[in-house]
Amino acid sequence: MRILRSVFGAGVALLTCALMTPTRAADIKIAVAGPMTGSTAAIGAQMKAGVTAAVDALNAAGTLGAKVELVVADDVCDPKQAVAVANRLAADAVSLVVGHYCSSSSIPASNVYAEAGVLQITPGSTNPQLTERGLKNVFRVCGRDDQQGIIAADHILEHHKGKTIAVLDDRSTAGKGIADVVAARLSARGVKDLQRGSYVAGERDYTALVSRLKRDGSQIVYIGGYYTEVALIVRQAAEANAKFTVMSNDPLMTKEFWNLASDAAQGTLFTFMPDPTKNAAAADVVAQLTARNVTPDGFTLYAYAAVQMWANAVKRAGSFETAKVAAALRAAPVDTVIGSLQFDAKGDNTAPGFLVYRWHNKVAEPVP
């Protein structure tokens, strides 16, 4: 009987503890939203790893005086899912959304966040339209496609002068957007006979497209798209013995690209922001991530920096209110893992910078 009573007592004590916890401090919810499943999932995983590490660091240091709780939301890189996810996060009253990744998701979701007064910082949506619509709650850590496309086009003009060029896109917001920028820049700088085309994302068979490029004698093929399709095109081109070099945009910064394309990936070019893992400021975070078996590649540190920017702005504003935090975000530069970062009036990164990289022996290395 005594044993029973003590068990009961322990149970009551446990229950009270469990009931007490949430009332101790008001938790702050933030979310990471992006493609956690589907054909762009490797990038969603990068974002999630970065944000998780940043949240853990905030909680360990107790910087904000409140526990930060992380919500993970999956938009499958699909605009309809993105809007559904955005509505759910808005109803959940999250203070910050780090995301989304695909521009076709970020742009419709940003309307929902603007209406609900939720702060949105994207680590990877590069389409200019995201910040061009005068929304006060939208920021981006990465660069824009009207910068990225120019770098890509100028690289082609400088290193592959006089070659036959084709420009393709997957008809997505980001893919078509950047392909248009590249094609316009190439034409403006005197390239004639530019082949322009598009393909359907989500397919597996691109042999017809590859044979067509081979017949046209294309030597450089610029593709605005995502890594799965680009990998399949590169792989099928190697199989068809079509000797063209593919250049693409930022989604190629993931090992998954090499895994999917295997050796055919050798020599594929793409543009991405400077690799922040070598920054002195990032050394600790890189070590922490490596200890957790996470490779801090691609957008991982950009997502980490988004949370750092927000936490810093919250401290300066002394409030979690979106309008005040947004004003603080615009006010001053912050030292983050990707270097000193400042937002302009539109919410864009003032000094993003893009570099040209090349896949070489399983490693993405900058092209000098």
């Binding site: 597996r204 042999t207 017809a208 399949l232 792989r235 068809a240 999917l260």
Partner: protein
């Protein structure tokens, strides 16, 4: 000219993959008059089983033909087991109920299989390194070489062999006779001593085995597998089966070939982005002219 030949080779290969999957749809429809919407996902299971075996076999350092033969055997065996279980769990309890019930349970099965693989294998596309590299140059003219890779040859040979084998099975063996008897009149067939349950079970097992062969070929050709791959491939193959005349084995392969060729040739000479529009427009036109499909028979309704 060489360009056309190359695109025909591309189109035939793609079409035969559609045809291989379409055979599974058409066999099941032929025997119980039901569209097995989970068939595309059985194909996906086949690809994953083959992927897992190929990935683990490579650690033993087996030679390529042995590794492929083993992977094919395992994939067909395990996927057939899935086919049997699906029929047992989702379709047999509903036999004799109204026509739409098994259709709905097929869609449910399809979603269940997708989610099962998504959870157990992860949501990212899985890659297989190129195993059958290289090939032969068929023609060379005007600086354009027509390449025929080994994997394309393998797909063509395997599909035609499977088609021949199954046509023989359906027209010449006692199992085939039982299948045709069930197709015509299940009640009468069972009165005359045909074990209809067993025949239907075997049809599902054979259909799943076919899907596994298609899954392995698809995996070797494109080098990727993901939990969602059965959806698009399934829709295309189902379309192929309808186009060829659902219920007819050669019709399924013919329908697959036609869709593959239309898609490829449209991409080759017109727009890559609108190839599906072309393929499905032709499907609609053809079904208006010949509602039973290319090789389908119109059943005379007995009054």
């Amino acid at each position: 000219m060489t360009y056309l030949v190359q695109q025909l080779v591309n189109g035939v290969t793609l079409g035969l993959i559609y045809g291989l999957i379409a055979l599974g749809y058409t066999m099941v429809y032929g025997i119980i008059g039901m569209i097995n919407f989970a068939h595309g996902d059985v194909f996906m299971i086949g690809a994953f089983v083959a992927l897992i075996f190929l990935a683990s076999l490579s650690t033993f350092g087996l030679s390529l033909p042995i590794a492929l033969a083993l992977a094919m055997t395992f994939a067909v065996a395990i996927t057939s087991l899935y086919g049997w279980a699906i029929e047992r769990v989702a379709y047999r309890p509903l036999r004799g109920s109204f026509r739409l019930a098994p259709l709905i349970s097929a869609i449910g099965m399809s979603i269940a299989l997708q989610n099962f693989v998504q959870i157990s294998q992860g949501a990212q596309p899985k890659a297989l390194p190129t195993m059958l590299a290289g090939g032969i140059t068929l023609l060379s003219h005007d600086g354009f070489d027509v390449e025929l890779s080994w994997i394309k040859i393998a797909i063509i040979v395997v599909t035609l062999a499977v088609l021949a084998g199954f046509t023989w099975l359906v027209t010449r063996t006692s199992l085939g006779r039982a299948m045709r008897a069930c197709e015509q009149d299940p009640k009468m067939a069972s009165l005359l001593g045909v074990d209809t349950d067993r025949t239907i079970s075997l049809t599902f097992i054979l259909g799943a085995g076919l899907a596994a062969v298609a899954g392995l070929m698809f995996l070797l050709y494109y080098g990727v597998a993901d939990f969602f791959m059965g959806f698009i491939a399934g829709i295309k193959a189902f379309t192929a089966a309808v186009l060829g005349g659902i219920g007819s084995l050669p019709g399924a392969v013919l329908g697959g070939l036609l869709i593959g060729l239309i898609e490829t040739l449209w991409s080759a000479y017109f727009s890559v982005a609108y190839k599906d529009v072309a393929a499905f427009s032709i499907l609609v036109l053809l079904l208006i002219i010949k509602p039973s499909g290319l090789l389908g028979r119109t059943d005379a309704e007995k009054v």
